[in-house]
């Protein structure tokens, strides 16, 4: 039998025919990235290929890298292997990577969700022979409500906090969740402030031509008076840090798919948990996999064992693959804590953060 077009090895997902890696977790010569989250876009490779809209964020996060970008639907060849990007709907600039060689088509999903979040280009199914899919939320207990319902909950919560004389602090990952929360906030309620990491990320996105709602960066000069009744968006890593003190009295909300379970919600000790995820839920995963018409599906990060077994029972040819994108059973702890920041919310270092501390989800 011929060598599979993509293989999992100690460095990442490898394409031998094209001699490149997709989302390598160790430094390699040629890295093709699905998106700019740090568990997928790691530092140290010689050359990177990513979607146009990931360009500025990648430069902000990984520094001076050799980076080539292209848009959705465009194609590029590496050693005769055809590569193209297709919308994954996960975060701005996230792509499914399609590779084709000698009539054989493989697609690497990266992270994805099916709902249109109003911020990034919505997911599009891509037909393929083999589909490598994430399954972070691959258990049937994970079923998302409509995003509209969640955004209404967030705005109502903000309004109520303001009436009670409290500030609202909401946490979500600095790339993806933060912009998604921001774009659906009702500015008639009050002002929106950003943690430094999110402000930096938004500035990088702005250099990429993305316009977002009006916000103010929190600095050491920001007064308590200014933020009265405001919404403050921060990354999860700010939780419990001295940086939060200035916002008192506040109510703390946390946005994540994990918030659908009571146990996880209680562990986070958030005042409010909002079930808002940038990953596909159980039904979404099955629908996405089905839409590829694939002959074979490989499952990475998440509840791989259970989800693989279930897919096989309902007639798919499914296999478990081991990756370093979150451990075999990604719990929210594997995904927690993001950038190390100082009290002003600026990133202290991007590159020395150990694997365990890196941002995932996400």
């Amino acid at each position: 039998m011929a060598r599979p077009l993509l293989q999992f090895n100690e460095n990442g997902i490898y394409c031998a025919a094209g001699d490149f890696y997709i989302d390598p977790w160790r430094p390699v010569d040629d890295a093709v990235l699905t998106h700019a989250h740090s568990d997928h876009a790691r530092w140290g490779s010689k050359r990177y290929l990513a979607h146009d809209l990931s360009r500025e964020v990648l430069k902000y996060r990984l520094g001076d890298i050799t980076l080539e970008t292209m848009g959705y639907g465009e194609t590029l060849y590496k050693n005769g292997v055809k590569i193209s990007f297709h919308p994954a709907g996960h975060v701005i600039g996230s792509a499914q990577v399609r590779v084709e060689h000698k009539g054989n088509v493989w697609v690497v999903s990266g992270d994805y969700k099916l709902e249109d979040d109003g911020v990034c280009t919505p997911f599009e199914p891509v037909k393929c022979n083999t589909f490598i899919s994430e399954c972070t939320f691959g258990m049937p207990v994970y079923k998302w409500k409509s995003p509209k319902e969640i955004h209404d909950e967030i705005n109502n919560w903000w309004r109520k906090n303001k009436e009670e004389g409290k500030n609202s602090v909401i946490a979500g990952y600095s790339l993806g969740k933060a912009q998604r929360i921001l774009q659906h906030l009702d500015l008639s309620i009050g002002k929106i402030f950003l943690h430094g990491v999110i402000a930096n990320t938004n500035e990088a996105l702005a250099r990429n031509g993305i316009t977002l709602q009006e916000t103010t960066r929190i600095t050491s000069e920001t007064s308590k008076e200014e933020i009265k009744g405001a919404m403050i968006i921060c990354p999860p890593s700010a939780l419990g840090s001295p940086w939060m003190r200035k916002f008192q009295p506040y109510s703390f909300g946390y946005c994540s798919g994990w918030m659908s379970l009571r146990g996880a919600k209680r562990r986070m000790a958030a005042d409010r948990g909002f079930v808002l995820s940038d990953h596909a839920d159980w039904d979404g995963l099955i629908q996405a996999i089905d839409a590829t018409d694939c002959d074979c599906v490989c499952l990475t990060h998440g509840y791989t064992a259970s989800f693989t077994r279930y897919l096989n029972e309902i007639g798919f040819d499914a296999h478990e693959a081991h990756t370093y994108y979150g451990g075999d059973e990604a719990s929210e702890e594997d995904h927690l804590t993001t950038d190390i920041v100082n009290s002003e919310g600026d990133v202290i270092t991007d590159k020395q953060v150990s694997d365990a501390q890196e941002e995932e989800e996400l």
Partner: protein
Amino acid sequence: MKDFALLFAALDETNKTNEKVSILRDYFTNVSDSEKIHTLALFTGRKPKRQINSTLVKQWAMEMANIPQWLFEESYQVVGDLGETIALLLPESKGRHEKDLAEWIAEINSLGSLTEEERKTWLLDSWSSMTQQERFVFNKILTGSFRIGVSQSLIVKALSEISGLQASTITHRIMGNWNPDTFSFYDLIQEQDASDDLSRPYPFCLAYAIQETSDKQKTAEEIEADLGDPGEWQAEWKWDGIRAQAIHRQGKIFIWSRGEELATDKFPELHPFLYDLPAGTVLDGEAICFVDGHPMPFNVLQTRIGRKNLSKKILAESPMAFIAYDCLEFAGDDIRSMPLAHRRSVLERLHILTEHKDIFRISPVVNFSNWKDLYDLRLKSRDNYAEGFMLKRLNSVYQTGRKRGDWWKWKVDPLSVDAVMIYAQKGHGRRADLYTDYTFAVWDGDKLVPFAKAYSGLTDKEIKQVDYFIKRNTLEKFGPVRTVKPELVFEIGFEGINKSSRHKSGVALRFPRILRWRQDKKIEEADSIEVLKSMLGD
């Protein structure tokens, strides 16, 4: 039900005591009296009888959710709560209902007369009419697992605010043998004292530990600094039995355990002395097994607590006595507001008069003139069949619940061994989807033999690290249990140890828990089974 489900959700969403009280107050102000009393019953652990066993509930949920059993079980592992798992797995409902909590509970209580098929239809219809949030609380009630993270004192506070009654009055009225069919909201808040319930116990006075952690010993000097003049204190041994209130009123006797369970029938040996007490007497003390004039370890008592029928053999092997240490009611008068010294003299007089001195015992006062003497004596607690001392201020009243200042427990240090983690299982509730339940082993020659399971004792951060280790060092999976590579060593503390033929190790521990993670130790340095056996005594 909608109100109740919203109440539950709202309470779930705040950690702040004041907000919880205000949520409860708003709720109690808005719902009917019958819903109020049902809520109070649920919040004080008075659950309706379970009418459908959880195997059937699971089976019907799987059918409705259309998923295989193994996936249901794995989902349960992830969620850590059966009621919540089902609520999450069922398809979204299209129906509606207008029933309140009282009506749902009435339906649950009437299921007894239905056939299995009828119950199934009822359950599927019920689920179809509810929102996810309602299904969750409904499932908890239905499966008899309803619990809420709200202390009784907060509910009492809210009720006190809306009724104008003293909190202590309400606390007393909601104790005892009632259910929503026999006790109404009106009974609860009426003006005159509702002392017509003969069985009603008083809220137990509870002690704080003076030694906050087992890590750091308090010296005699520190105790002196905390408690002052030894002359103001009464010391008694702390007994390892079941805390109980023994009541005799108008020719009727009742024995209540601390968990507010009526345990009269469990302790027939205590009945004669109780009947012989003057009517209108309530004693606080410890129900405990006594053989040859000595209290027996707790596990002797444990063998009979769970039994429905007390056979002759059990009664012979584990005979009960009652060690009294306080008198709360005498000649029909509530004497809790009298000082301890006075209540003690009443108790001693009652004891002099009893003809059942082998059963009705009195906890001896331990004389001491300085804290150093007591400190030294405490180290010999186990020789005296006790777990340490109780320290009570002589001029103190009998408090309601746990109040800091007058009653302290000063326990002897736990026994401990260093052990290796070999199995792990996921936890429940707050610890769902995290490996938090561990089995520990000690060396028996070159084999590791399991001897204890322990859950608590690690910080959240340590739990995270251990969980990370387990997920990456699993050797085998047996259902929910993982065999873990023997590598992590923990210091396991416990209160007592006994021989056991039911355990592979030959020993059973009382209250095993993790004292600390010994990251400095290798598995070769863990203790052996001989160390445990040497702690058995005779």
